[in-house]
Amino acid sequence: MTVALPVSTDPAVVPEEHQQRRGLWRRLPTRAKAGAVMLGVFILAAIIGPLLTPYDPGFQNPSPALSLHPPDAAHLLGTTQSGQDVFSQLLVGIRLTLELALAVGVVATVLSVVVGVAAAYLGGVWDEVLSLATNVFLVIPALPLLIILLGYLPQKGQAATIVVLAGLGWPWGARLIRAQTMAIRSRDFVAASRETGEPTWRILAFEIVPNEVSLIAASFVNTVLYAIGASVALAFIGLADLTSWSLGTMLYWAQSQQALQIGAWWWFVPPGLAVALMGTALVLLNSGIDELGNPRLRDAGAPSAAAWHKLRPTDPTPVLQAAPRLRRGTASHSASPGGRPPGTPRPGGDLP
């Protein structure tokens, strides 16, 4: 969940000295760690996977015995109708899909930082125009627009897909970053650096943007999630370079050659599961980043202990009518004021 995370200068959320020394990894919530590890496995598969492919993913084995062969030792995930090795396709496909998603994530996040910071910092007419553009593109559904854009393109290669996906993937981050920049802009340290005569670009690059790192990270993770979902959906309906092997084109071929009706589960389950697990990793990572910034969302030891005792999280002070009972652990709730402003949810992770 990307929300306007509190800035680390907020006294309530500044981690204690010893916590800071323990490093970022130790402070990450368990969920985020699980997500990071899962994502790491996929990134590793993307880097070394194509070197390990037992077969050429496009090689069509003419032997009729190898058409739609179920998984065995020679073909770990079976073969397709035309005798191609599914495992090899999967390894190459993970790389291509991840490559595309990360590229879209980088480009779109840069765009959203530029638009968000510019709108908030320049203010006035600039803010009006940029905010309006952001909100309009937020409300126009991206996938149908992506479909006509890619439909008209004569070459639907990787680069074209990256440009189109990034071109429509920035508004979410831009909106959150604009809100955050508005909050930081009025802080004393920004005023101070303006007084000392720092040029605007320096204030933006060295005072404001570094204070938004956690928000930018969250919006990057979200954009990667969107890019995976959208690119796989687009490839699934045939709007991709169908001669290359990505997770989406694998699903396209499986669907168009009726893998389901034939009962060849090993053909369509692995690519879909890979997409789902990558997505899960990103959602976990994001909810972890979220908890890092908003301690209230955390469910570390104490609150869950409270849950076992059927304590309501809302009663740190005794309620007269209730029988006296132990109120262990509830302190952790009142210890975290601040938090995020309500009214900044994100639209689920509901990507196609």
Binding site: G151, Q255, G263, P313, P342, R346, P347
Partner: protein, 328 residues
Amino acid sequence: MPFIVRRVIFYIVAAWVALTINFFIPRAMPGNAVESIMAKFPNLQPSAYKALQAMLGVGHPGSLWDQYLAYLNNVFHFNFGVDVTNYPAPVSTLLGQTIPWTVILVGTATVIAFLVGTVLGIVAGWRHGGWLDRVLPGLMFFQAVPYFFLALILLELLAVRGHLLPLGQGYAGGLVPGWHWDFLGSAVYHSLLPAFTIVIASVAGWMLQMRNVMITTIGEDYMLAAQAKGLSSRRVMFTYAARNALLPQLQGFGLAVGFVVSGAIVMEIVFSYPGIGLLLLNAVTSNDFPLMQAIFLVITFAVLLANMIVDVIIVAIDPRARAREGAR
């Protein structure tokens, strides 16, 4: 300016932007769409060639401004041109046949998912750290699964292997669509699996969002005050916490509905459901550009309309929005 008027103006601007993008895409993209359409459909008449040129702005059918005005005029009269795949059927007829299927299926399933997810989110947020809260990471898996993949899996398990539900299509073959029980029953029976897919795929997103807003709301001082007054837990949970947490949740609904609709139309392909998603697939595979563009407009307007309805609901349940309305 009253809140609702401002929002309506915003939606008009958004609709205009969508219309304008839709106008310029065929004119700005490389390649000659008319030639590729004519090459694919040799049965088209020369008159269709002229009409396509005018519509997609190929050749020199008048100045850009004149084309733009003619285009807007056509859209306002629901004239989306002639479909090339089913020449000479007008695109608007095809849309009219498919839209009801999608609106009823996706609309009902989305509302059900939203309600179920919100209620689960209320409970998970209230019992923060309880069992419902602990299964959240598991639910995140369903949030990340593409709709169409979940559809494939459910189809395999429940229809291909389980023989519990039909394999696809909107209604049993041999039935004539109409207002009689045989057909309606069959349509509902065939829509169960697609609807179930949408609910499963989107419920976790609503739940997670509601849970997080609930947890933030629970920390507010008025929650403490309500408990200190000795109100029952149920009352504090629903009328104090949930009612306030619902507002950001509704705003999130407006933004997310576009994602859900996008996912759902791709999912229709798996079920061969006779809705707008299947029409879109056919348009894409046959380079039927006029149909693709019309579908984009229809989906966009539907999403804008859904957002507008959400805004009306927000005004209805948020006293602050009403107060703003009255004050100005």
